[in-house]
């Protein structure tokens, strides 16, 4: 139960919130009306890039600041909506000139630099599908995503290409064009690559935006399950209706806002809210090239007069480590709304916001498959610290129990745990996992999308996160599939079997811990353990690699041979071991 409710009072608001009365907003909401707030294309078409960029560039917001990019030194480069429109037209022309067609997939692997944003929006203008990759992924996750996604084009930087992609090139038969952003003093690009800037400079400023159907694929976001390879969640152009609505209602974004989403576009938050949503509102967005540093971040909030800030629990907890006093040294009169996503924000962190910034953090909940924010703490609604809030208008959420026959029972009682489920049909709902129809179908029971997250709903309708229903690991807000980690460790000649679980971490929420057993003739040693850690980091990158590895004689298995990750986790956390009747005695 909440220790403390943060009451909202109208005199605290600097702007009248877009969602003023939760119940009334739910009653009066319709997706049709939300669609009318956008332009659309002739004949019922809809294109995300038109709604994000061109409709503002064509009107009186043409000169309004759309994107302010901060380089490593903190120096700003500004792009108006007009600038973004021209540059993304050019990139769309680049794709067309290369023969890249509607529906074909364009991947980006890049740090947060302007070409990434130009690529994303230009790809959508061309009717092609944009797929972002996290730049700290190692070669293994990159290879699986590029090959499952049948990438036709990859935009990346010269150094990332040399470090991670060049060696994979021969095993990616679909990849026809690699466009490199120059970031080193090397005079000549590697073979079989093109120069991003040269192509952009040579392309025309005008481009007729592809008149996409609302159901045409637009975005591909990879996510992880417990088993098997990463899944590519497909989102369509109609998602923009939810991006726009959720930015207005859950983030309370207004056109005059300066918005900073700290998430990297390599993950879904950084695309939905770090590229698309703020632009659809016509707001100004801040993009910082650099990684997290508290003082730099406070300086950005102050110097660029950020008014709405969307960040993540890991960052909040890192800031807490450095104390509220440091934050309070920075005068932030423009800042009026703070939100967080990625994993549940602990109550202390919500309250710390008030101590450090005189504003609470507003936690919200969504996932790759939902495409946009589904459950949120709203500007006008009292906050129960630790709760993810209430469903957005237009979103029906509930808690269910799965029955053996695949149907679900709705849990009506307050505070009873079950799986969080959403009524299908919102615009940004994923429309499939690429090439994995069966896995897609398994996510639904009748009209309900089953999220894989366990939750409970209190008597007033606030939802509370309980845990994952599966073995997926959530580290720094990102889902990590244990299978991907285990597969990389299995590549080592000494490893017989591997299991990866998430263990609690005060900053990241969870970090990956792996257990391995060795093949006969191999002895456990500190040197081998270090070697395995190094191998995993090289293959997977630090975002996915385990931070801890333990070598055991054997790993607990079921009689059918499946490693019992749950049992490893229970032992690790000192929890009851639960049902071990299927445990094989060998261990």
């Amino acid at each position: 139960m909440p220790r403390q409710t943060i009451r909202k009072q109208s005199e605290d608001w600097e702007l009248i919130p877009n969602l003023l009365d939760y119940d009334a907003a739910r009653r009066n909401f319709s997706w049709e009306h939300e669609r009318e707030l956008l332009d659309g294309m002739p004949g019922g078409g809809l294109n995300i890039a038109h709604e994000a960029v061109d409709r503002h560039a064509a009107g009186d917001r043409c000169e309004h600041l759309a994107l302010r990019w901060l380089d490593r030194s903190g120096e700003a480069t500004d792009f108006s909506y007009g600038d973004l429109s021209r540059l993304t037209n050019r990139f769309a022309n680049v794709l067309r000139n290369l023969g890249v067609k509607k529906g074909e997939r364009v991947f980006a692997l890049s740090e947060r630099i302007p070409p990434l944003y130009i690529t994303a929006l230009g790809t959508l203008k061309n009717g092609s599908v944009f797929c972002p990759l996290f730049s700290a992924f190692g070669p293994e996750p990159l290879h699986s995503r590029l090959s499952i996604g049948e990438a036709k084009v990859l935009v990346t930087t010269e150094s990332l290409y040399r470090r991670k992609v060049a060696a994979l090139r021969d095993s990616l038969p679909h990849l026809q064009h690699v466009l490199l952003v120059r970031d080193s003093a090397q005079e000549k690009h590697p073979d079989d690559t093109l120069d991003f800037q040269q192509l952009l400079d040579a392309a025309a400023d005008e481009f007729p935006v592809c008149n996409t159907n609302p159901e045409d694929p637009a975005l591909l976001h990879f996510t992880s399950g417990t088993t098997g390879k990463p899944k590519g969640a497909i989102h369509v152009h109609e998602a923009v209706v939810a991006h726009h609505a959720s930015a207005r209602l859950a983030l309370d974004l207004h056109p005059q806002d300066v918005f900073w989403c700290t998430a990297d576009p390599g993950w879904v938050t950084g695309t939905s809210y770090g590229i698309i949503a703020p632009l659809t509102i016509g707001a100004t967005m801040i993009v910082d090239r650099q990684e997290f540093e508290p003082e730099r971040w406070y300086g950005i909030l102050r110097d660029h007069m950020v008014s709405v800030w969307y960040t993540a629990p890991t960052a909040v907890r890192m800031m807490m480590k450095h104390g509220a006093e440091l934050a309070r040294k920075f005068q932030l009169p423009a800042l009026r709304f703070m939100a967080s996503v990625g994993e549940p924000l602990n109550p202390e962190a919500v309250l710390w916001g008030e101590e450090a910034f005189e504003l609470p953090f507003h936690d919200n909940w969504w996932q790759t498959e939902t495409g946009g924010i589904m459950i949120a703490n709203f500007a006008s609604m009292d906050i129960r610290p630790g709760s993810m809030g209430k469903p957005l208008p237009g979103i029906e959420a509930t808690v269910v129990r799965r029955r053996e026959d695949g149907s679900v029972e709705l849990i009506e009682d307050a505070d009873r745990e079950g799986e969080l489920a959403l009524k299908r049909g919102w615009p940004s709902m994923f429309r499939g996992y690429l090439h994995e129809e069966e896995r897609y179908r398994a996510c639904f029971s009748g009209d309900w999308y089953l999220t894989g997250d366990l939750a409970r709903r209190d008597e007033d309708g606030y939802f509370w996160f309980v845990g994952r229903a599966d073995d997926v690991i959530k580290s720094s807000g990102h889902l990590i599939g244990p299978f991907e980690v285990e597969s990389a460790l299995m590549e080592h000649p000494a490893v017989a079997e591997a299991a990866a679980i998430g263990v609690p971490d005060p900053i990241a929420g969870e970090v990956v811990k792996a257990f391995v057993s060795l093949k006969p003739a191999h002895q456990p040693s500190e040197a081998l353990r270090t070697e395995l850690l190094a191998l995993a980091r090289r293959r997977l990158g630090p975002a996915v690699a385990p931070r801890q590895i333990e070598i055991h004689d054997n790993l607990p298995r079921t009689r059918s041979g499946k490693i019992m990750r749950r049992l490893l986790k229970a032992r690790e956390l000192g929890l009851p071991e639960g049902d071990t009747s299927t445990l094989e005695s060998r261990e």
Partner: protein, 87 residues
Amino acid sequence: MNREEIRALALKKLLQVAPDINPGELDPKTPIRDQYDFDSMDFLNFTIALGREFQMDIPEKDYVAIQSLDGAVEYLAQHIEGSAEEN
């Protein structure tokens, strides 16, 4: 403790956090994260490990000084000397 000893210990801590780093290839003057995938959790773990090893509290404002191996060695040397003089 001389600079070489400090360097050896700092490098040892760095390799515990990120054993994928090849000490022979690491450019000590360039920020580590410009050369390797070294994320903010890694950096935090590195500063914690240095703090424990050298028994000092490294305040956040000083993080900018320890982005590279040379930077970290220089910072540690100054602060170890500084505390010695005070004694």
